[in-house]
């Protein structure tokens, strides 16, 4: 079943050349096609929205447009002229500038310095600062966007919204470098703003449109529809459609973003069955509150897989880490099998039988240069020791047994884990918790991130096996389909708290769209 929405854009037929155009952009990373022939057109004085799920290729596309990523193939045209962008400066010379997602200002410099950074012009003569000129020129930039920030204020004393204005003022400096009207890229500009500030930003974007083109990226689809003239949807590195925002609803966009993949059970096996007399839940969380989440409640039963879904910034990652004691929380109670869990650190969680597979496998999940065997016995040192000494034989037989049981493909147990494929690395990370025996709660933070389909299904099978053996699992899935396919129940988070709980039994799975409604 394919639902390809190709709204034709009849709203505007610009006669002029597009301000910026990309044709057939291609970028492959090892194992991933980040861009798989993306076409994109930005007209003059237009606000183009860019939508797509995580990993759809948005950031790679943006990076290619400002010269941070060199595409393997494909061309970029500025005002109909083919260009090659080697650096940010190159892009700026062609009038393309980007406001980065992580704010890219030097915090300990003044706003004026940040605005002028790298192209101070008459603000610096012979290496000596003319603070008066600096302030004047910065003020000029700030006036363009109607901001009332004091140019000589230190940047880290400004509010986030003000810092963003400084960034926009800075990006507008590219006008001095190129004769063309600038193309301004805003990458997730609203993610750090409060709702009032977002309104100001939108006013700003509309103002920019008077003399520039804007590419606007946000994971909040209603924002995209609100502020953009047209939206381009990306999915797995391809442009899958364009929508004129005048007649589109968030649901339409989302349907295009997630495409037509059915939400099949990934590995149903013997899915979790609720017995008649329900035993008390293995994990209960009540009123958990921290920096990014609030009043979070959760029950997970033995053998159950509960997926937590939510957009970027929903706080679900922090909840997951808090349950492992890796993130402090201010209030709330966590009990495991009726016993209160003291989560003052990760050790107590480990001791209680909680296992955690972190999202950043390469930096948090494994010690790259260490051997498979050492990685596998990292948490439970006792399993390979006798007294304080490591017994190589003991370790070898234990590790070999698990290598075979999980069919981990490694030349030898002594091979450095970084030389294995991602899927096998992830199996070792999981095995680390299994060698200890007696895990009761398994926290999986994006366990299939960066894995290919084959490796993913092996991880799914392993998850299901563990659930069948009675382990309670909390899953933060990489995609909605994965969450729906694997989970017995799904908890939806938005802005730090639970908005809905959806039963997700085999045969009566909700659709991604049902969940998205609660997520945004």
């Amino acid at each position: 079943m394919s639902i390809e929405l190709e709204h034709d854009i009849s709203t505007s037929g610009p006669a002029t050349v597009p301000a910026l155009e990309a044709r057939g952009l291609l970028k492959h990373y090892p194992g991933v096609k980040a861009l798989d022939g993306v076409d994109m057109v930005v007209h003059q004085n237009e606000v183009l929205g860019l939508a797509g799920e995580n990993g759809a290729g948005k950031s790679t596309l943006l990076k290619a447009l400002v010269g941070l990523v060199k595409p393997d193939a494909g061309d970029i045209y500025v005002r109909g002229e083919k260009v090659r962008l080697r650096s940010v400066v190159d892009a700026a010379n062609h009038g393309i500038g980007m406001v980065f997602q992580e704010q890219s200002l030097v915090p300990n410099l003044t706003a004026a310095e940040n605005i002028m950074l790298g192209s101070e012009g008459r603000g610096v003569r012979g290496g000596i600062y003319r603070w008066d000129s600096m302030r004047e020129m910065a003020q000029e930039q700030l006036d363009k966007i109607g901001s009332h920030i004091n140019p000589l204020a230190r940047t880290d004393t400004l509010s986030f919204a003000d810092r963003q204005m400084v960034e926009i003022a800075k990006v507008l400096r590219i006008e001095q470098r190129s004769n063309n009207a600038p193309v301004i890229i805003l990458d997730e500009p609203t993610s750090v703003l409060e709702s009032k500030e977002i309104e100001t930003l939108f006013t700003q974007v509309r103002r920019l449109r008077e003399f520039a083109s804007v590419i606007f990226v946000s994971h909040r689809l209603d924002e995209v529809l609100d502020v953009c003239d047209r939206v381009l949807v990306l999915r797995s590195g391809q442009s899958v459609g364009e929508v004129a925002t005048a007649h589109a609803a968030p649901a339409d966009l989302h349907r295009m973003m997630i495409g037509s993949t059915g939400s099949d059970d990934h590995y149903h096996g013997n899915a979790f069955k609720k017995s008649e007399e329900q035993p008390p839940p293995r994990l209960t969380v009540r009123g958990l509150s921290g920096n990014t989440f609030r009043d979070f409640d959760l029950d997970v039963h033995e053998g159950e897989i509960v997926g937590i879904v939510g957009v970027h910034g929903s706080g679900r990652e922090d909840v997951c880490r808090a349950l492992f004691g890796a993130e402090p929380f201010i209030a709330g109670e966590v009990t495991l099998d009726g016993k209160k869990l003291e989560l003052s650190g990760t050790r107590s969680a480990c001791a209680a039988g909680v296992a955690y597979v972190p999202a950043e496998r390469k930096t948090e999940g494994m010690v790259g240069p260490m051997s498979v065997a050492d990685n596998m016995t990292l948490t439970k040192q006792k399993s390979r020791c006798s007294g304080v000494l490591v017994v190589p034989k003991k370790q070898a037989s234990l590790v070999d047994a698990w290598i075979e049981r999980l069919s981990i493909r490694t030349p030898h147990r002594g091979t450095a884990i970084q030389r294995l494929s991602g899927g096998n690395q992830q199996k070792v990370v999981l095995a680390r918790w299994l060698v200890a025996g007696d895990i009761r709660l398994l926290l999986l933070d994006h366990p299939t991130r960066g894995l290919d389909i084959g490796a993913r299904s092996e991880v799914y099978r392993l998850m299901r096996e563990l659930a069948d053996s009675g382990v309670a699992t909390v899953l933060l899935a990489d995609s909605l389909e994965e969450a729906i396919g694997m989970s017995d129940r799904i908890v939806v988070m938005n802005d730090g708290h639970v908005t809905k709980e959806v039963a997700c039994p085999t045969g009566a799975k909700p659709t991604p769209l049902d969940l998205v409604k609660e997520m945004v």
Partner: protein
């Protein structure tokens, strides 16, 4: 976002809050200096004499100049351990270039300039090794220190050069407005350093490199030349400090800069310059120098054995760094 409840507006607590007003880190060291000074003055009658205050300032002079140099490096987030070698080389060089008992040179001020240039050259080597060979500053400057000591030893050649140049010899003795010339040189260095930090691109960029180097790169700034220039500038300051030591001793010594690397880092950090870069500055460091010197002097005046002082200095630097990083601590933080 229409669906989010209104009470969520103030709930974006995860983002860092803007800094407001003067931070503890900026105000703490000057306050500490005043408090410590008052305490010692109250306890010890020897401490609160004019002669002792002059003594403190004169003692602080060389350290102040070294600290001026190292502050720029620390501001970038790099570290510089080259001062002992660089100072040694400059000290011997100047002793051999002005009127002395080893040769017939009598270059006077020019000799001093050459010695400072030599030191700047050694600093430049540190910087080049950092940006071209990508060797961390910790190692390059350690190496350059050894090179400097080697150069100094070669020039020393077994016979200590005693200076007979009247001008240089009297720098340490003659006084102007109650303080020795060396002290005034140090004050001048602090002033020049502050001007560089405040008004020159070099100083501002050194500050920015420590704040967010990648932003500079994304803004099209080539940072490498600035890094080399900062190390060169630091070398020049060390060179001048080496010359000052020669003036104090009336002789060129290979060990002229011994211990100044750690002392200068201590002073800078105590003054509020972060080792991670981007915070602090010359004036902070000047306060740090006075703090350390007053403390050392005061402990002696109240009768604490000088043998204790090395340990006390070590304690101070660890405590100062701990206080500085305390607000940024978080769970599972990786510290190397």
């Amino acid at each position: 976002m229409t669906t989010s409840p209104a009470e969520d507006v103030e709930f974006i607590a995860a983002r860092p809050q803007p800094r407001r007003g003067v931070s503890f880190r900026d105000a703490g060291p000057p306050i500490a200096l005043i408090v410590i000074f008052c305490v010692f003055a109250a306890i010890s009658s020897d401490f609160r004499t004019l002669a002792n205050v002059q003594n403190i300032m004169d003692t602080a002079a060389v350290l102040a100049v070294v600290t001026c140099g190292i502050t720029f490096v620390l501001m970038m987030g790099s570290i510089d351990l080259s001062s002992p070698g660089v100072m040694g080389a400059a000290a011997i060089a100047v002793a051999l270039l002005v009127a002395n008992n080893r040769n017939d040179n009598d270059l006077g001020l020019l000799g001093i300039a050459v010695a400072v240039l030599l030191a700047a050259g050694l600093g430049c080597v540190s910087g080049l090794a950092l940006v071209l060979l990508k060797v961390p500053s910790f190692m390059t400057t350690l190496g350059v220190s050894a090179i400097g000591l080697g150069v100094a030893t070669l020039m020393f050649n077994g016979v200590q050069p005693n200076i007979t140049d009247q001008k240089l010899a009297t720098w340490a003795v003659d006084r102007f407005l109650g303080f020795s010339y060396l002290t005034w040189i140090a004050v001048g260095c602090v002033l020049v350093g502050w001007l560089i930090q405040r008004y020159s691109r070099l100083g501002r960029y050194a500050f920015a490199i420590g704040g967010a180097e990648e932003v500079l790169t994304l803004s099209g700034v080539k940072v490498a030349p600035y890094k080399v220039a900062v190390f060169t500038l630091a070398g020049a300051f060390y060179g001048l400090a080496g010359v000052m030591v020669t003036s104090q001793l009336s002789a060129g010594l290979v060990q002229a800069g011994k211990g100044f690397d750690f002392a200068a880092i201590t002073a800078a950090v105590v003054g509020g310059t972060l080792l991670t870069g981007g915070r602090g500055g010359i004036l902070h460091s000047a306060v740090g120098v006075l703090l350390v010197t007053v403390l050392t002097n005061g402990l002696v005046q109240v009768g604490v054995s000088p043998y204790w002082q090395g340990g006390v200095q070590g304690l101070i630097v660890v405590a100062a760094v701990a206080a500085a990083v305390y607000p940024q601590r978080r769970r599972n933080q990786v510290t190397k």
